[in-house]
């Protein structure tokens, strides 16, 4: 099974996709998906709450199943695929990292807002100490200029990260912006560079190809687009496209398509497509996991979810600030009422 891979894919449906199904994964679903991905020879799969380890909360949504049970389940059916976990400092701690490593996770992705890399030092050190392959994951990378992204990526490299990702959490980056970012990272860092897309503006595939052209060798995808917002680069499609381009992923295309069709589609509560809300996420530059929360708040306050998302974008809200959604919705509703009274 050891084909030489040009690109190492990480399938994120069991983490990023958790947002899309309001963190309702069951052990059976994770077993089925993970087993399929292992058989398809996907090198890495990420398993955790959508907001990473310890993300289960009133703020982000409570997990139906304890994520450590899900991680354990995934590990139990993977004999070639490595299980990765995500950790956002400020939400999860080194304690959860240790627990994930004890259960057999082999990769830790430590995620911060694009300008806040220095909060990841203690977690990157710990991850390395635990012997995990360690990724620095710079989220919302559309919100900082290229030089800032490079500076922060270098910090993560200096803490010991083996790989650094530019993450387009809002699906807001345009292809030329991806190009300049990945190019600059490749020039300035000696570790491998990765890219994580969201398809809110229908650019995930285009952006991913640009990233690969510029030298990114670690790429995220979600099967059937099962990720936050409109999902990520669709993994099975990416495998096909890269095969056509003569770029080896080592992943079995037919098996990937079958997982999408037979295992993942039934998990989806609604099909993953670019709806008006996910489009607005990309357009306004807002964290993709805000979508369902904004829809709920819009319903509660009788307003348009797009107005909430646009306002959040204007305020330059960052990932994790889900509490701002209700706050902003309440404010919009109140303003409307005042205008109506006048």
């Amino acid at each position: 099974m050891t084909k030489q891979r040009d690109i190492y894919l990480t399938e994120v449906a069991l983490r990023d996709g958790s947002h899309a199904i309001a963190h309702q994964y069951t052990v059976e679903q994770v077993l089925a998906v993970a087993k399929g991905l292992n058989d398809a020879n996907v090198p890495y799969i990420e398993v955790a709450h959508g907001d990473g380890l310890a993300g289960s909360s009133l703020q982000y949504g409570l997990s139906r199943t304890n994520e450590f049970e899900l991680i354990e389940a995934a590990v139990s059916v993977c004999d070639q695929t490595k299980v990765a976990v995500l950790l956002l400092p400020g939400i999860g701690t080194v304690k959860e990292l240790q627990q994930a490593a004890d259960l057999g996770a082999k990769m830790a992705r430590i995620a911060t807002h694009v300008t806040e890399a220095d909060v990841s030092a203690q977690h990157i050190y710990k991850s390395k100490e635990l012997g995990l392959e360690t990724v620095g994951f710079l989220m919302m990378s559309h919100m900082a200029p290229v030089e800032k992204l490079v500076e922060q990526a270098k910090l993560m490299e200096s803490y010991g990260a083996d790989i650094v990702y530019a993450v387009d959490s809002a699906g807001a980056l345009l292809p030329h912006q991806v190009k300049e970012r990945i190019k600059a990272l490749k020039q300035s860092l000696s570790v491998e560079i990765g890219f994580h897309a969201h398809n809110n503006l229908s650019l995930a595939m285009a952006n991913t190809l640009v990233a690969i052209e510029e030298g990114a060798t670690r790429i995220d995808g979600s099967v059937r687009c099962l990720g936050a917002g409109a999902g990520n680069t669709q993994t099975e499609v990416l495998v096909a496209v890269l095969d056509r381009l003569g770029i080896e992923t080592g992943v079995d295309l037919y098996k990937m398509m079958d997982i999408a069709e037979d295992i993942v589609t039934p998990i989806l509560q609604v099909p993953q497509e670019i709806t008006r809300d996910s489009l607005v996420l990309g357009y306004a530059g807002v964290y993709s996991s805000f979508q369902l929360h904004a829809q709920r708040a819009a319903k509660k306050f009788g307003i348009d979810s797009r107005d909430i998302l646009i306002e959040l974008g204007k305020r330059r809200v960052v990932g994790g600030q889900e509490d701002m959604i209700v706050d902003v919705a309440a404010e919009i509703a109140k303003k409307r009422q005042e205008v109506a009274v006048r």
Binding site: Q59, Q122, R316, G320, D323, V326, D327, E331, K334
Partner: protein
């Protein structure tokens, strides 16, 4: 009324902000600021204001221990471990503003009364000072089974200490939510936001009360009362909107604007720590002085 002599250990942002707040105290007499860098802005200001400015660290102070009976430690968690021992041996009362949390955790409007005889008092974290009073206010009406707080602070107001030890923030704050706030289970999240101009500190408290125990009007009143109490020592502490109820869940949105003493107004997170520290020290001092008279 005679005042009690105090010293500030640490001449950085927090120490200097404390200095400006202590100038207004009727109970505490700041005599000394202790640092390790004679060129620091904090020590320079201390000298200008007529205080003893010791630039040889805690050892310099211990050569002249008569300068203060109460010491505020505004250094770092690691340094505090050493300071705590030395100051205890010297018989000083210590107010710890680092996340070391070796002494009793105190939130003034909730449990200060229980700790007036302590010699090492810890102020938990900024997020703890802002939210634990609210958890307590809910819990005293409707028992809280779970409370979760989200503190969002401007990137500019998060110093290198906070950044290097962000896990200590979440862990110490969760512990405070349970032990002092009264929640059966607590959780804390911290988010840094780099927006310019910097945002004010925001805190959100999500709480679940025991099934069937939510008393919306009394919980709301209890929260409003508590906000007023905190405002008495942190004037920029306020509710952003009415509490939002959904079955047995309540969400409270708070905002903390700093007093703008030394630190800018957006640094409500730092202001609430220094304000709480002064409040606690004043109460400890009153207690000590009353005790001595008897």
């Amino acid at each position: 009324m005679s005042k009690m002599k105090v010293a500030i250990l640490g001449s950085g942002n927090i120490g200097t902000d404390l200095m400006m707040k202590l100038e207004r105290s009727d109970i505490l007499q700041l005599t000394t600021v202790i640092g390790i860098d004679p060129e620091s802005d904090g020590l320079r200001r201390a000298k200008e204001h007529g205080y003893e400015a010791i630039s040889t660290g805690i050892e310099g102070f211990l050569e002249r221990p008569e300068l203060a009976d109460i010491v505020f430690d505004a250094t770092s968690a690691k340094a505090h471990l050493r300071h705590a021992k030395l100051l205890e041996e010297a018989g000083k009362i210590v107010l710890d503003l680092t996340p070391a949390a070796i002494g009793s955790l105190v939130v003034p409007p909730v449990n200060l009364g229980e700790h007036l005889d302590q010699t090492n008092v810890n102020l938990i974290t900024c997020g703890g000072q802002a939210t634990i009073p609210i958890v307590h206010a809910i819990n005293r009406v409707s028992p809280v089974s779970y409370a979760e707080i989200v503190a969002t602070i401007s990137s500019k107001s998060a110093g290198p200490g906070t950044r290097a030890n962000i896990d200590e923030f979440t862990q110490t704050t969760s512990r405070g939510i349970e032990v002092i706030g009264g929640a059966k289970k607590g959780k804390a999240i911290i988010i840094l936001n780099p927006a310019e101009p910097p945002i004010l500190m925001r805190d959100t408290v999500h709480a679940l009360v025991e099934e069937g125990m939510m008393n919306e009007s009394e919980v709301t009143q209890s929260i409003i009362d508590m906000v007023n109490t905190v405002q008495s020592y942190v004037p920029g502490y306020r509710l952003r909107t009415e509490p939002i109820f959904e079955g047995n869940r309540v969400t409270v949105f708070l905002e903390v604007e700093g007093a703008g003493d030394y630190l800018p107004k957006y640094s409500g997170n730092l202001d609430i720590m220094t304000a709480a520290a002064v409040k606690v020290a004043e109460e400890l001092a009153k207690h000590q002085m009353a005790h001595k008279v008897v």
